[in-house]
Symmetry: C2
Subunit: 335 residues, 2 copies
Amino acid sequence: MTSALATELPVEDGVLTGAFDQIRKYVRTTPLLRSDHLSQLINGEVLVKAESLQITGAFKFRGALYRLLNLPDKQKKQGVVAYSSGNFAAGLAAAGQLLGIPVHLVMPHDAPATKIRNARYHQANVTLCHHCEPSREEAAGNMAKAIARSECATLLHPFDDHELIIGQASVALEIQEQLRHWQKPCEHLLCPVGGGSLVAGSSLALRAQSQGQTSVWAVEAEGYHGMNLSLQQGKRCRASGNLPCDCDALMALEPGIANLEVTLQTGVLGMTVNTKQVHNAVQLAFSELNLVLEPSGAVGLAAIMKSPERFYGKTVVTIASGGNVDQQKFVELLS
Amino acid sequence: MTSALATELPVEDGVLTGAFDQIRKYVRTTPLLRSDHLSQLINGEVLVKAESLQITGAFKFRGALYRLLNLPDKQKKQGVVAYSSGNFAAGLAAAGQLLGIPVHLVMPHDAPATKIRNARYHQANVTLCHHCEPSREEAAGNMAKAIARSECATLLHPFDDHELIIGQASVALEIQEQLRHWQKPCEHLLCPVGGGSLVAGSSLALRAQSQGQTSVWAVEAEGYHGMNLSLQQGKRCRASGNLPCDCDALMALEPGIANLEVTLQTGVLGMTVNTKQVHNAVQLAFSELNLVLEPSGAVGLAAIMKSPERFYGKTVVTIASGGNVDQQKFVELLS
């Protein structure tokens, strides 16, 4: 599926802060919670940005809202179509409901039930996709494309889109505001990466705001580490996708074209984590911070637990998003 | 055990806001999360004050910190002793660690392991109490008294203390600040009640700030509803304590003397919830809000689900505290 790169990506700080100002009144300011355990582990400061508490339980609501707010009026009336494994679906559905814009979603049939329920709860029309070839994301993408054509609706890409990048950048800007209170610089920022809009937005925001003092990390699940491979090779690469994976929100095989362009320019670094490490991180978030994280939301914590020496003595912020996990799955993760 | 009512309780607004200013830099501003499901249920607004995300996972840190900050220097040096079923223990331990004040705690041997671990993590000296007569709280209280005498340390009561009330009032003041953003008045505030310092502080703060426009509710677990009985009778009454109960933080049989004095003066209302209702509320907090709540932290949500008609069309805030629950117990609650 082609991405939706209709415009040049603006990197001026004013564009990003302007976007944040535009969506600020609709989004939740999510808390930045210190993890005493991980701070001790790295002999520094580990702060967890709990985007699992964002509206619809993930940062995706921010980008979706900004995207819809800036749609021309005619397109707003005709509605939008998108495919998503779940968190973008719920975020887009909630944003559409808020703004009165019809939303039609294509979701993989094996997406977590809670994510499908969330999207329907916010009045979206949901079509389930049962195909898995070439990948479940790409099959759903092709179906969304066909629906958009037949409904004369606007097709949105779930992550490869300049306006999504700009919307997601608000997470990093909010972190910067909160860190002023702590009077500490953010030396490392860890982002969970599926298609890469969050890490692209974050690295743009921090480049503008911190004069490059922050190392931004793309953290991916093993076997689905297309961004990591692409950063190593300096060009778009595809992961195999042939490992079992609980991180259903991070299963894109390739990074978005726009996202990779940004992450290469801004010098984003890469890390991967495995299933066992992610499970341990979900348990830590539960027991220390009283947060419910889905596996995808815990990869940043897992990365710190995997390689604490990389962050020794530093101030590290990890974005924990999302928190949408089926009850039965969460029971398994804790057991 | 006698309460620690050394001073007259000040009810001037300036005292409460002054206390909040004093502790503000140490405590977390916890988020106020809208529950779409419960808002729909009452055809109004239900906002959840997630004090489960406070430092040590409960509002108790606020009162404990204020109490220790205002201790005379000599007493700070000699340290403090207290008994607690868990959340006050962890809050006091963390406050003591922060301020360099030695803390010795007596906890029931059957307190959740996570609460005992939390207290020890923050460097408190913890003694487990194996007695359960006349009640586990009172047995632990007697042991704490003996330790304080032998150690020449200051004995603190876990809830019946004017300065704790003043410290806990900061939760309601913070809610009022957050509601200005929503431009809505708080028409009902629901507080979980064990000994009653939170509901006492909240009702004082709201009386001062909202000119009595807010109904404040003391929500208790059935069988442990000493505050409800006392409010009905207009005098201190004792609950039977003879029902099985998951709300380990709310098992005090009688309200604190100081707390009851305030709640009678300010016209606090009462509700009780049963075990099944609490379990449903824990599940709702998990599935809708991605919050981990211990049963005691979910009684306010349970009260809304039990009697939505009482809150029809109104703006309701419920304080969700705490979030400290053993992993195995949480698995049972979700299963």
